[in-house]
Structures are given as structure tokens and as C-alpha cells.
Amino acid sequence: MIPTVLAAGLALCMPQDPGRAPEVDVLLVRAARIVLAPDQELKDEAILVRGGKVVAIGAAVPRDLPAGARRLDLAGKTVVAGFVDAHQHLGQGEDLVERADPATPELRAADAFDPFDPQLATLVRGGVTTIGFAPRSGNVIAGLATVLKTHDGAVLREDGYLKMALTGDALDVQRKPTSLLGAAELVRKAFTAARDPRAANDPAARALLEAATGARALVVHVEAQAEVHSALALCEELQLQPVLLGCAEAWRMVPRLGTLRATVLVPPLGAEMRAQELGFPAALERAGARVGFTAQRGQRRVADPGSLRRSAALAVRAGLSRKAALAALTTVPAEVLGMAERVGSLQSGRDADFLVFSGDPLDLGSRLESVYVAGRALPAQEASR
């Protein structure tokens, strides 16, 4: 499957006819509904794509198109930005944790990236066009995530957010630290040392310091109430602004997360879950926090991109606004990745990565009909969800 995608991608990058001057790569997309951003939609209007970027939207699209411009008429369809999943391990579970040391902020997930990972094709066919490829939660300070495009594996940012974990996976009974006590001390020590000017040239210290100053995001994996509290208290003490990942048991901490205006990355929801779990995203929104969805479930299992829409639909059923649900699939994870100016929405100047649905993407009866990356469609059989 992957070679097909790569071949298709390569073919698309080449000029159509080497004998002639390259045509202007212009695409006009007209659809019944174009979701430019969660709070901005076009009805029966168009966007203009040139050179793989959105260049004009709605009324700003010029009437006269250059010769050779392609037209895509999607009557009755809905167009949304390609989904973004900020926390993905692809199929690389084992290579994404350096367990010999519980603190490895200098490590980069990019160095475990396999461009032939079959999971890339699964994701792009499922509508996930950009991911944060993250170290696993086996270390307290796990390392740096990498921002990737799934259709060709292009790296947008090699040293993305800093991933940390206070979950059971990071607290091993056979290795330091074995408890939250030790993990908190380790984090405290690491960030304090990183702020020492003498450490300025140390890559590990730089990775931490940039997470502390906001030059990169900090994503902390927590599940139990004590872990969430520990992360929040520690981050307050160290003046860090964390994005929380997981929070399976944090439904009683929603008011506090709301007060902090926290961003929470929520793993796949399932219809079998309890009411407070299904209502967690909605409760976060009501309290003032922000939600992003991730398709990554657990450490070793490969992700099902279809779970993103399922999560969103279940959360909407439990009270999450449609706007927040769309944001949770696009703009929120894009912001966590520091890529909100490039992906996650279809504003002028952003990447023309978009999905064509037969109806509302939050309606599970709608079908994902095609996936466009940089203004080019994946071959028809590739989009299957």
C-alpha cells in the first residue's frame, strides 16, 4: 500500500508534461459547505488553491482563473481541513522509549521514524493528514515529538513538543523512579538544572528550557486523579503551561482544569464507556478548558483514524458543541503542535489539506469520500473511510 502512496505522491510532484512549461497549479474548490475553521463556514462558495496552499476564500476568489486551472465541483458535499492528531506512535512503539534512563528530554521521536511505516497510509486514508509523532510514556521525561505529514512523511518540525509522563508506565517498580514522589523530584531537579545558565549548551537542558519558556509545548501524560493533581501542582511550582494527555480519571477535576484554561488531549471514546467518561469533553468545554482528540489508544496498539470521528460524535452526543468537536480534530491539536498557522484550518496561506465528506463529518453516517493533500487528491481507492 505504502509504495502506491509514495509513487502517487511522487507522480503528483512532477510536472504534468515535461515537454511544456509547467502549468499553473491552480485548483478551484466549490462545495455545498466548506468548513474553513470550526467557527467559520462557507455555503455554496469556493476556495482557491495554488501551489498546494489556500490563496483565496469565498468572495475573495477572483472570477477569472488562469488557463489550465482545475475546477472541483463538490455539490452536496462538505469540505473540512485534514485532521490533526497531536499524539501518535505509528507502529514504532518499541523504538520510542529509551528505558535505560527515566529522563531523556534530548531524544527525538524523529530518529525512530520509519518512512515506510504502513500506519502512515492508514492514517492519511482515514483523513489524518498531520501528526505529532511522540515518544512513548515509558519515561518521566520522554523526549521531543516530531511533526509530520502522513502522506509523504515530510517533517514539518523535528523538535516539537516535549513529552512527559507521570503514569504507571513511567513509574517502573524495577527502576527509578517507582512513584510519583520520585517522578516529581526528578522533574523538579531537571527543570531547575536546566535554568542554570551554566547548562545553556546542553541539549537536554535546552529541550527543557524551551518547554518552560513556551518555545515548544509541554505535553504531560496523566490518568489517575493523583497524577493529574501532581502534574498541575508541579507545573504551577515550576511555572510551566502543560497540555494534558489522557486524564481517564479526571472527570471530577473538570472545574480546576477549566479554571486553568487547560488543553486536554483525549484518547478514543467508545460507546461502552461510562457517562462521566463520555461527558468529559463536554464538561471540559463548559468549564472553559479545551479538548483535542487523539486516535492513539495505549502504548503499543496502532491507531484507528476512524476513532477520531467516533470520539467527536460521541462527545457531541454527550453535550460537546459541534464547534468544539471540530476544533478537537483540527485546530486544537494543530496548536499543540505549534502548526496552527499552517494546518488545521483552511485560511488563506495555509496548506490545502482537506477532506471531502458526503455530509457532516460529525455525523457517522457521512462517508469520507476523498482526501486532498497540498491540493492534490489521493488516488480514489486510497480514501476508504
Partner: protein, 413 residues
């Protein structure tokens, strides 16, 4: 799980700052009850005035009731301070009681692992316990610092009444139990380490304090060209203990371990309280002479185990009476497991302890041991308005809790 008790609802409501403010009654008067201030003689048909989260005044029936107060008739009831448990088994997951990466972790702080919304906190609150000490566990020789928590507060930060209240040191066989002397199995395991014996445990303690003394010397006296050692959080904690700014909680069950705990305290000059000291009845005079205070674990639990405590220590049910006779201050502790704290004290009364001393053992004495006696443990003007209203004599098994106030808010009804 889904049975959401009123306490939970109140906790949730209080998590909102705004709600917390409006929820706090400006002025509450509890009128007509028999009041046990513990710090002073009981008052029959007394009046207790709570204002701004504090006890404003208390006295007999003639104490004037301020205007605009919410008056609650407590005729026939009994009022005590909120109970204080100097060693409760709450709010911490088993995994997080000790950092087992090292035997000596004085820098570990139990607040880093607390769950402010733990069900166990709500449970002991409903049993009348408004203040608890939570400690690192007993797997490490030097486990780290515990903290005094309220069992109810508007926010997680306000829940911590006093951080770093005690440094826990564990004697006896327990801290060495997980360690292995002979390599086999997984040779990289962190548990191939000292100590594996009582000798080793005590040396580990000595070595830690020797290291702290050497660390202080290096940090204060400029050595010839030697670089000053980095600030070490663990060493700083040990120095606080050596400087008697931090009390050492010496967990010592068997007689030999109690003797060792007192010996070490004298050798290094730190202040110590004896914890879980089941066999203290064998060394009452020694303990009285050392002016040590004793934290005694649930009397009923000892009975359930047929008189045997951890480390093979033998428990005698008249121990508390003996301590009282020898004027050794003691607290009864250990709720979160077994019976409610008040029933443990009642059990001691049944064994011959006088009721006044038993009540002090779950209020005033633990508050003093924990260094929070100016806030909780007694009812006097200026103390926190942590109050339990009982339907009758608290030590009568037929008595139930009518309401619990924490900082002037009625949190159990």
C-alpha cells in the same frame, strides 16, 4: 461509584472559587450542646460561635448570641473539635507511598502524590476526622516528608495545612525486606542493595546523617580549591532535622527498635516522636525519661491480629493506660483502615483509659505532635472552626455524627 453522596456534591461545588465564597456562612452559632473544648473543661449547655472560618467565642448559656447569626439548636448534642489523625492511611495510592529507587529519599514529599479528591478523605471526614497527617510508607529507611492535610478544602492547595510536617525514618525489618543480598534473577534490579538487616538499616540512617554533616561543612567552609557541592534537596531536609526544625517520625514497633530510635535521636540530637510503637509497654520508663511522644496505632487492629503487630511486636491492650499513668503524651492514629478513629478511642476507654485522655489522643495531642496546635485539635477563640456535632457521648457506639464543620463550613450533614 455512581452513588454520588451529598459530600461529593458539596466538594464539587466548592471547587468553584465563587461558589466557595457564597457557601461560607458569615456567622454560625451552635447552641445548647455539651462542648468539649479539650483545651479547657467541658461546658454544659454551651454556646459556640463560628465566624469567618474560625472559632470566635465559646462559653456557657449566658454568652450573648451576635445579631444576624445562623443559630443551630444543639440541645442534647455533644460538640468536640474535629478529630486529628497523626497517621492516616488516606489520599495516597499504594504505588506512591515510597520512592523505592533509593533507600534514603529525604527529599521525597508526600504532597507530590496526594489525590485531593480521594474517596478515602471523604470517608474519614464523615467519621469526624478533619485533619490528617499523611506519610511516606515504610518500605524506605528514610522515606521523606509527610504533610498535614485537611480532609476538606475549597482547593487542593488549601487542603495542605502544613507541608514537610515530619521526616519519616523506619527502623526494624520492614525497610530491608524488599532488598536482596545475592544476585540472581534480574541482575540489574534496583533491589540488590543494602540494607538487608537491622544492622544495615541503622547504619543507613547513620550514614545519611554523617553525609548531611559533611555536606554542611563543604557548603559552609570554603575548602582549598574544592568546588562547593550543588544544593542537594535531600541533604537540606536532613540538616533541618539535625537543626531540630523538622521532627523525625521514628517508626519503631519492637522494643529493640524503640530503644534504637531513642538512641539515634540522642546521638544526632534530632527531635523525634515514636510511631507505631506497639511494644512501648516494655520500655515505658525509658520513653518517659526521653520525653518522647508516642503515636499508637489502632488498638482494635492489634486485637484483630491476636496481639501481634508488624515486626513481631507484641501488643498489650492496656498500653495506653500505662502511658497515661507515666504521663507520656500519646495519640491514637491510623484511620483509613479498620474502624473509625472515634471507635478506636472508645475501645481504649473500654480498656481503662479515661475518656478525657482518649479524646485528647485524637485531637489535642496529635495536633501538638504535628505542630498545628495553634490551628486545630482544640476549641478556643482563634482556632479553625473545625467542629464535630455528635448525637450523644462520642464514645457511645449508639452515637452518630450529626454534622461536621471544616473552617466554619458545614460539610457533613
Amino acid at each position: 461509584m455512581n452513588r454520588c453522596c451529598p459530600t461529593v456534591l458539596i466538594l464539587l461545588a466548592l471547587a468553584h472559587g465563587a461558589a466557595a465564597q457564597s457557601d461560607r456562612p458569615a456567622l454560625v452559632v451552635l447552641k445548647g450542646a455539651r462542648i468539649h473544648p479539650v483545651a479547657s473543661a467541658p461546658i454544659d449547655g454551651g454556646v459556640l460561635i463560628l465566624a469567618g472560618g474560625k472559632v470566635q467565642a465559646l462559653g456557657g448559656a449566658d454568652l450573648p448570641v451576635p445579631e444576624g447569626a445562623k443559630v443551630i439548636d444543639c440541645t442534647g448534642k455533644v460538640i468536640t473539635p474535629g478529630l486529628v489523625d497523626a497517621g492516616a492511611n488516606v489520599a495516597i495510592q499504594p504505588r506512591d507511598r515510597n520512592e523505592q529507587g533509593d533507600e534514603v529519599t529525604p527529599q521525597a514529599r508526600i504532597v507530590d502524590a496526594m489525590d485531593p479528591l480521594a474517596r478515602s478523605l471523604e470517608r474519614v471526614l464523615r467519621q469526624g476526622v478533619t485533619t490528617v497527617q499523611v506519610n511516606p510508607g515504610t518500605r524506605n529507611v528514610i522515606g521523606g516528608t509527610g504533610a498535614v492535610l485537611r480532609t476538606h478544602a475549597a482547593s487542593a492547595a488549601e487542603m495542605v495545612l502544613k507541608d514537610k510536617s515530619q521526616l519519616r525514618i523506619v527502623l526494624g525489618a520492614e525497610p530491608s525486606q524488599g532488598n536482596m543480598a545475592i544476585r540472581g534473577g534480574n541482575p540489574d534490579s534496583i533491589y540488590y542493595r543494602r540494607p538487608t538487616t537491622r544492622m544495615g538499616v541503622v547504619w543507613t540512617i547513620r550514614k545519611a546523617f554523617y553525609d548531611a554533616q559533611a555536606y554542611r561543612e563543604k557548603r559552609t567552609i570554603p575548602a582549598n580549591g574544592a568546588p562547593m557541592p550543588e544544593l542537594d534537596a535531600g541533604m537540606e531536609v536532613l540538616l533541618e532535622a539535625l537543626d531540630r526544625k523538622l521532627t523525625v517520625r521514628s517508626t519503631a514497633r519492637a522494643e529493640q527498635d524503640i530503644r534504637t530510635a531513642l538512641r539515634l535521636a540522642e546521638e544526632f540530637g534530632y527531635e523525634t516522636v515514636l510511631d507505631e510503637s506497639a511494644e512501648v509497654w516494655r520500655v515505658i520508663d525509658l520513653v518517659a525519661g526521653a520525653k518522647a511522644k508516642v503515636l499508637f496505632n489502632l488498638p482494635s487492629a492489634a486485637r484483630a491480629r491476636d496481639g501481634a503487630a508488624a515486626d513481631g511486636a507484641e501488643v498489650r491492650l492496656n498500653t495506653l493506660e500505662l502511658l497515661a499513668k507515666a504521663k507520656v503524651p500519646f495519640a491514637i492514629q491510623g484511620s483509613g483502615a479498620g474502624l473509625p478513629l472515634i471507635q478506636e478511642a472508645a475501645f481504649a476507654v473500654r480498656q481503662g483509659l479515661d475518656a478525657e485522655t482518649a479524646l485528647a489522643a485524637i485531637t489535642k495531642v496529635p495536633a501538638e505532635v504535628l505542630g498545628v496546635a495553634d490551628r486545630v485539635g482544640t476549641l478556643a477563640p482563634g482556632r479553625d472552626a473545625d467542629v464535630v456535632v455528635w448525637s450523644g457521648d462520642p464514645f457511645d457506639p449508639a452515637t452518630r455524627i450529626e454534622s461536621v464543620f471544616v473552617q466554619g463550613r458545614q460539610v457533613v450533614n
